[in-house]
Symmetry: C2
């Protein structure tokens, strides 16, 4: 039922491209869904991918182009002549996809492509969409939608829908506007079908419609569509005029990408990689954060080196270095990830910042007390050295509180500064808390063992 791309299939495609067997290749590729062709492209070289594009009908080629990753798309397009981009690809796309693709082109090419678009209305729509910030509703919305006047009857509507529907792939909802094009409400196709043709639209449409403004941020759009289970949401300007619509597939992609990016941050991976990727790509994704870890380790070695006297006088102090570092790291990651996840899910805080901080301190003190007591009991019964027992417990107590508060506060501060708060998760927070933990631990050890 479901088509699956196998290694054999890829090998066959590569072979047919190599020997330029165009007819056989067409027979193999044509029945595939654009999303499947896009997936297959991932395993082809740039040149092989280009051969496939030239082989496909224009409409399918543009559907495939919309589905592939941004970087691959740039590589394909930046060597093509502008009028080919305009006539083979852009012409068959919805305005939102077209605008995204044009926005990614180099500045000179972008202007040339815009000039080559034959349909004046489409060119205007794209130029209009390019004005908006790409993370705002204006930057995501498509211009294609079906709208009807509130004063019409069902019969007029159906006629008008037939006229407008040609350029809209899926209708989802019909938007109802007044004479000034202000959005008044929404009408489902079901309602249109179920009502007699002479019924006035104003009597059957739903006035309670959720909308977003052209400058609403992506996060908020996703939250609204998810919360109210919307397939599409209309976008209005400050005057309440209908400007476009955003559909569920844009939002699913956004939710998934955001989640993946946060997950990569916390696991110390830069970029979107899969086990199947090439070795250099995997290395590229892994080395940056490991370098930070290495620097942190070297700093840690310097901190320990500056406490050489303590460590050589009381060797046992060294035993608990991993424990202090691990607890600091784990607590910090927990705190930061709770904050990051709540920001990502768009939860509106009904508590003030000071109240949240107080709560974080409370949780930190409670956690710190529990683990300080546990390690105290362990050391009390297994270690002969009471100074060590006190040093470890007291430093663990302090370290957990610091790690917890830092872990919460840093992402909050980053968020206020409009920097991605997820930066403060994973290797960054563990490394920072490791070093801080060592400082506190050896400082306290010094006091207890009266080492001067």
């Amino acid at each position: 039922m479901q088509f699956e791309i196998t290694r054999e299939f890829i090998d066959r495609v590569k072979e047919l491209i190599e020997f330029n067997k165009v007819q056989e290749l067409k027979l193999l590729i044509d029945p595939l869904h654009p999303a499947d062709i896009a997936e297959m492209m991932d395993d082809l070289s740039l040149d092989e991918a280009r051969s496939i594009y030239l082989l496909l009908e224009d409409e399918k080629a543009s559907d495939v182009l919309v589905e592939i990753p941004e970087n691959d798309r740039k590589k394909i397009l930046n060597v093509l002549p502008p009028e080919l981009i305009a006539t083979k690809f852009i012409e068959y796309m919805d305005s939102d996809d077209a605008a995204d693709i044009v926005a990614d082109l180099d500045e000179v090419l972008k202007q040339e492509v815009l000039k080559e678009i034959e349909d004046a209305e489409q060119a205007e729509d794209i130029a209009d969409l390019l004005e908006y910030d790409e993370d705002s509703a204006g930057g995501i919305m498509a211009k294609e939608l079906v709208s009807v006047n509130e004063n019409w009857t069902v019969a007029t509507c159906l006629k008008e829908i037939s006229r407008q529907a040609e350029e809209v792939d899926e209708i989802f909802y019909v938007y109802v506007v007044d004479d000034e094009l202000k959005l008044k409400g929404v009408l489902s196709l079901k309602k249109l079908i179920l009502n007699p043709t002479h019924t006035k639209i104003s009597n059957i449409y739903n006035k309670d419609v959720k909308t977003v403004n052209t400058d609403t941020r992506q996060e908020e759009i996703a939250e609204i569509m998810d919360k109210y289970d919307l397939i599409a949401v209309p976008v209005i300007d400050e005057e309440g005029c209908l400007k476009g619509r955003i559909t569920f597939d844009d939002v699913i992609d956004f939710v998934r990408e955001e989640a993946e990016r946060d997950y990569q941050m916390i696991s110390g991976i830069s970029g979107d990689v899969e086990p199947g990727d090439k070795v250099w790509k995997l290395l590229n994704a892994r080395i940056p954060w490991l370098l930070i870890g290495l620097l942190g380790g070297i700093l840690g070695a310097l901190v320990l080196g500056s406490h050489e006297t303590e460590l050589s006088t009381v060797t046992e102090l060294a035993f608990f270095i991993p424990l202090i570092a691990a607890m600091a790291g784990n607590v910090g990651v927990q705190s930061s990830s709770i904050v990051v996840q709540s920001i990502a899910s768009g939860v509106k805080e009904i508590e003030s910042t000071s109240k949240r901080l107080l709560k974080e301190v409370l949780v930190a003190v409670a956690t710190a007390s529990i683990f300080a007591v546990l390690i105290f009991l362990y050391n009390f019964f297994t270690q002969g050295n009471m100074n060590l027992t006190y040093s470890v417990s007291i430093s663990l107590f302090i370290v957990i509180i610091f790690a917890s508060v830092f872990g919460s506060v840093i992402p909050m501060v980053l968020f206020k500064l409009k920097i991605d708060p997820a930066l403060a998760t994973g290797p960054f927070i563990t490394t920072m808390n490791d070093i801080l933990g060592l400082f506190i631990y050896l400082g306290i050890g010094k006091i207890f063992f009266r080492i001067i």
Copy 2:
């Protein structure tokens, strides 16, 4: 435009409930969307929430009930009489929501509720849905859908749709079946509106429809709907007969929940918590994984304790303990998260397990070489002790390879054993690799310093 729940609003609601001001409360709550009421419930006590349910009209009350978290729902329902559950809630729900809710009830209550459902067809639908595994398409699908026979005309279809549409909230697609109820294809409402009434359905429907089987797993359904941008997917049985449909909102919820769960695993949080939650709930979510970290720290202390001679003879060995532990932890988390994310995103591997392992080893050796050389250079120029320089570099090399391979292999093995692979991310993998790293490091130090 967008309603927001404020602290003041919640306080006002609590006050009105306390003083039993039913009319004012109704005025305040009635205009709200069920999703907003559900969100508000989160900040109310169980008794307060019950008062709200009694106040709402039955249809709205059941919409709210569907939106609240499973655990809260159980608490509300398990004290209500079965016939109230059946007539106030279940009767107004789609079959999929109703089945989910009935499935969660205690066994005795479940049977009683099923008996109390008045609509025989609905009772049968629910009983039927309860037969399927709750993570399979059969367990997620709703029975409500609109289907038409391929031999009908558009006119017959429109009449039949009016008849069927009453119990279906949103139609999305009309499914086309043959005389044996086997699914043949799909028809959009747009096509129905755009074609003359005498057109035969068989001439206009789309035969290329993506389907899932009743036993398809949730992960795969999400992957298919996301890949092909589907709002709804029909579910068929082994004979190809149409059994139900799954809509995009079920899948968005699933994708989001899966991502959140994986994120919690890697950050060492058990359960779904937000900074705004009560202190005990936050503690409850954080302590379990920290206990594992503590145990790991104690094991680490034992490992170091058993190498007391080495550490007291060569104090400098202790300096690099945090570096070795941190690198082992970070590398392990990277490897495991790449595997877990690729499993979660449902990527079909076109490479064999042995080839993937070989690649992981290659990446590990490359990473290990880079960082072993870096730390060698650092120590060569800053430390006088060549034995230490060699020990640190060589152990870092070995530790990275082990951490990397373990990090990849453990989630793969868990997945094969049908255990959640995400268990092997976060605190678990860092703790394990920490201890392993210490073993290797001190073992190698012992050899270089010829300590017996």
